[in-house]
Symmetry: C2
Subunit: 224 residues, 2 copies
């Protein structure tokens, strides 16, 4: 009985570790896009420095998960929870890397003459971080209904990315001095698109965890 | 005794599944870059269609791994092997996605007037697929020495990516009609860079599997 309670506590600890990781990753993405909008290099540098904290949390997730698997030999649902926690940790670490990539691009962009403001990028960042937040919420509450809904929002992010691409292409064609900053901004948009993909990935892992059913690569339309 | 042999056979099957997945992912990357060099849209489309096979292998890896963990309750090294197999499967699936992204960009590029040939991209593809191949070799042979060596080659890929970026920027500045295809080619280069990153990731997972030591985010210089 005592061992069982200990196991539940350890699972809860692992869960909280992932929630903290997701919160940090979301904050990093938001801060990176802020640094772009405000042309604030110091803020961009803070994002780059902040990445090591996410990296450490990923290692902690991996170690906790392997410990739990080794010592507790969990079955069925707990087993899927622990293995998915490792996959989710992997994805959140990559979200952090994308935030760093955005921040790195910002430091190039501020040296060039300003491009038009692109509210699309803020919308993309908002959507992507909301998707991540909901994916972790679905994970914590083991809510596969919420998880299934997340992937559908990915289309809007893709659409915004297309728009950003077209707008910037026009500006670069008109004024070749804008090419450098234009490309960096397209790369930022691409990073935001990838973050939304990773949130979708996490959501798919949650469905697998809850239902034991792998919906990856089959789209959402087949889901009940 | 019989159960033990069965377990070994299942582990071997999981290993072979990952090796097959890596072989496919490497072939997809090579074919995608070939389609660019040869401006061959049919070949690019074959890459896009070929992705579902990798996706299916990933699901198979996940299912085999969870089955093994549930039924066999493996300890220590086998446990790390199985959990790492899932992470490696995740990374290989992303390599396949990058090959698809490259192929998608090729279909835009062939519609535009040709850019200069960039042998750098072939070199990047060669390096990235070699890194992947060696990472899987290190995994199969549980050779952490080989695994540690792989990440060092990532610097050359990054350097080539920088070169490609600079070369294309010059061309786009000189002739704005080349901007569209130039950006698509930069995105291809970025995809190749990411594939090398994923190979490095797999190699780091192999070190963790063999040595039980997490070298991620600490660089390779500290390694013995």
């Amino acid at each position: 009985m005592k061992q069982h309670r200990h196991f539940e506590e350890e699972l809860e600890k692992l869960k909280q570790c992932l929630v903290a990781m997701a919160g940090l990753a979301e904050a990093q993405v938001a801060r990176a896009v802020e640094s772009l909008m405000e042309r604030d290099v110091a803020k961009a540098e803070a994002v780059i420095e902040g990445d090591s904290e996410i990296d450490e949390l990923e290692m902690s997730v991996d170690n906790q998960a392997v410990q739990l698997l080794a010592l507790q030999q969990p079955m069925a649902r707990d087993l899927r929870f622990i293995t998915m926690a490792m996959k989710i940790g992997n994805d959140l670490e990559r979200v952090g890397d994308h935030a760093v990539n955005i921040a790195q691009n910002v430091s190039y962009i501020v040296e060039a003459p300003p491009l038009p403001q692109l509210p699309e990028l803020e919308e993309m960042a908002g959507l992507a971080t909301d998707m991540l937040n909901d994916a972790l919420d679905a994970f914590v509450r083991a809510d596969s209904g919420l998880a299934r809904e997340i992937g559908r929002r990915d289309d809007r992010v893709d659409e915004l990315h297309e728009n950003v691409f077209r707008i910037l292409l026009t500006h670069m064609m008109e004024d070749p001095r804008k090419i450098g900053a234009g490309i960096d901004t397209i790369l930022i948009s691409r990073n935001l698109e990838r973050i939304a993909d990773l949130a979708t990935n996490v959501a798919e892992d949650v469905v697998f965890m809850v239902e034991g059913q792998n919906i990856k690569h089959h789209g959402y339309k087949e889901a009940p």
